[in-house]
């Protein structure tokens, strides 16, 4: 018997939304503890490799992420408590919809409108420091996200729309939509790479000339360009964040696909291994733990990314965004990091939903469609890592 069968009976309405609020508060407290610990360690540890500063920055970023996650958790708990939300509450029989149907939502449109205002406001803020439109855009964007979360917590996935026209006839509409979206993402990263290739093929770099750009050995010729990989490959300590991040992303893809495979199983059985049995004691926790592990690994990626950026921008040889080499590096890796951050927000929602036992073989396809996005982010890193970090 599926573990969901037993869980469904007691979860949903009976599990209070207070748990989301408690988890949110816990996350914020954890963030504060990490921040305090990192600041304390920063005062005591002094290394030549800059490890003390890395701990300082890492603590700040981890705290910021946990505060964001915790705040969202508290908001989710409050909103759903106020609206009586919860899965199983998605009944729309009054307005003619099927009881289990997940009908169209205004939330993406609200969110898109908020993002438009945010981007318009960003220009204005950058130009004259006026925060008004930017702030309004942020509020509307978060309102759209919050409403989307509230609506989707109740989605039991029993009415997956299927395409009926050619060439996608018989395939789930959301899957097709996600692939079309990923096509546009390929074009975005493709344009970054073509820009980088054009610039890089015109530069004289450490691949062409053996010299010391930092004034300690053979001077470099005129027109020599210091690229990111030259700084990153300076020592094992500078390469380490990027290398760990590569493994973290691969592992996060694995944990996500594992969460999906457990959520889809109708005849789920507890793994027989000691460690796997402890990690996945029932189906709900098998899904939740793997989703939380993905969330953790994605967060680790961002923490290490910002430690690395800080070292590159403020280290002994500053590599700033106001050069062509810096610009193409920070824009490409920044766009990728932004994709990871957006993915983390979705993973946070998935984890809260998993905590309440909201995933079942009927609606696990949502994890699959998000997984396409997350694996694409991993795929983009497969190209970015050698191109910008190793070469």
């Amino acid at each position: 018997m599926s573990a969901y069968a037993t869980h469904e009976g007691k979860s949903g309405h009976e599990e209070p939304w207070m748990s989301a609020i408690a988890i949110g508060v816990g996350m914020i407290l954890l963030g504060v503890i990490i921040l305090a610990t990192s600041q304390g360690m920063h005062s005591f540890i002094h290394t030549t490799e800059g490890l003390d500063h890395a701990i300082y920055i890492g603590g700040m970023v981890a705290c910021a992420l946990l505060v964001i996650f915790g705040t969202i958790g508290i908001l989710v708990g409050l909103v759903n408590t106020a609206s009586g939300g919860g899965y199983g509450d998605d009944d729309h029989g009054e307005d003619g919809y099927d009881e289990h149907a997940h009908h169209g939502s205004w939330s993406p449109i609200i969110m898109a409108f908020g993002i438009m205002l945010f981007l318009m406001g960003f220009i204005k803020w950058n130009h004259n420091g006026d925060f008004g439109i930017l702030g309004l855009g942020l509020v509307i964007t978060f309102a759209g996200i919050a409403n989307w979360w509230r609506e989707d917590f109740g989605n039991d996935g029993k009415s997956e729309p299927i395409a009926f026209g050619e060439p996608f006839g018989g395939i789930e509409v959301r899957k097709v939509g996600m692939w079309i979206f990923l096509m546009s993402e390929v074009m975005i990263f493709g344009s970054f790479f073509s820009s980088y290739l054009r610039l890089r093929t015109g530069w004289t770099t450490h691949w062409d000339v053996k010299c010391d750009a930092f004034g300690h050995g053979t001077p470099c010729p005129d027109g020599y360009v210091v690229v990111a990989s030259e700084l990153i490959n300076e020592s094992i300590w500078t390469l380490l964040p990027g290398a760990i991040n590569t493994f973290a992303l691969i592992l996060s893809s694995f944990t996500l696909v594992t969460a999906l495979s457990h959520a889809k199983k109708i005849d789920w059985q507890k793994p027989t291994g000691k460690l796997t049995g402890w990690w996945m004691p029932d189906q709900r926790r098998a899904v939740r733990n793997n989703l939380v592990a993905t969330l953790f690994l994605g967060s680790l990626f961002l923490v290490l990314k910002l430690i690395e950026w800080d070292h590159m921008m403020n280290g002994a040889h500053p590599f700033t965004i106001d050069t062509l080499a810096g610009s193409v590096f920070y824009v490409t890796t920044g766009a990728h990091g932004f994709h990871v951050f957006v993915g983390l927000l979705v993973l946070l929602f998935f984890s809260f939903k998993a905590q309440r036992g909201g995933w079942s073989p009927d609606n696990a396809q949502s994890i699959e469609y998000f997984g396409l996005y997350w694996h694409f982010v991993d795929l983009a890193w497969v190209a970015i890592f050698p191109a910008f970090y190793l070469y």
């Binding site: 060439p167 996608f168 018989g170 395939i171 899957k175 097709v176 692939w179 079309i180 990923l182 096509m183 546009s184 390929v186 074009m187 493709g190 344009s191 790479f193 073509s194 820009s195 980088y196 290739l197 054009r198 610039l199 890089r200 093929t201 015109g202 691949w207 490959n233 390469l239 290398a243 590569t246 493994f247 691969i250 592992l251 893809s253 694995f254 696909v257 594992t258 495979s261 699959e368 997984g371 396409l372 694996h375 694409f376 991993d378 795929l379 497969v382 190209a383 890592f385 050698p386 190793l390 070469y391």
Partner: protein, 120 residues
């Protein structure tokens, strides 16, 4: 993607690892180590490129085929996924390799037949 949608050779690869996802994780980890190692071995430039591009292709296949389930999905999804790469290749060729300083060492068959004004 369920196990029955895998081909025989995939079953053979997955068997020692329990399932195809475990195999893919091991494959991706191993090839990342090779990738980093190739750069640290200070191989000549073109050998390093060959290793990085080959490893990248294997990793991309592993992620797309098994993690993104293209192997178990209808072929039209794979075609959809591949479609934008046609334009990406055009961009890499038409923009990426159009730098006058960048095309000097390239064979004529992969050099765009125009001379852009970049750097003029």
């Amino acid at each position: 993607m369920s196990e029955h949608q895998l081909a025989k050779w995939e079953h053979a690869l997955a068997k020692p690892f329990g399932n195809i996802y475990n195999f893919n994780l091991a494959l991706l980890m191993l090839f990342t180590v090779i990738e980093v190692g190739a750069v640290y071995m200070n191989l000549p430039r073109y050998e390093t490129w060959a290793v990085l591009i080959s490893v990248g292709m294997v990793k991309a296949f592993g992620i797309a085929a098994w993690f993104m389930h293209l192997r178990g999905d209808p072929v039209i999804i794979t075609r959809t996924a591949i479609f934008p790469f046609f334009f990406v290749i055009l961009m890499l060729w038409g923009i990426g390799l159009s730098n006058p300083a960048g095309i000097e060492d390239l064979p004529s068959w992969c050099t765009p037949p125009w001379v852009p004004a970049y750097g003029a």
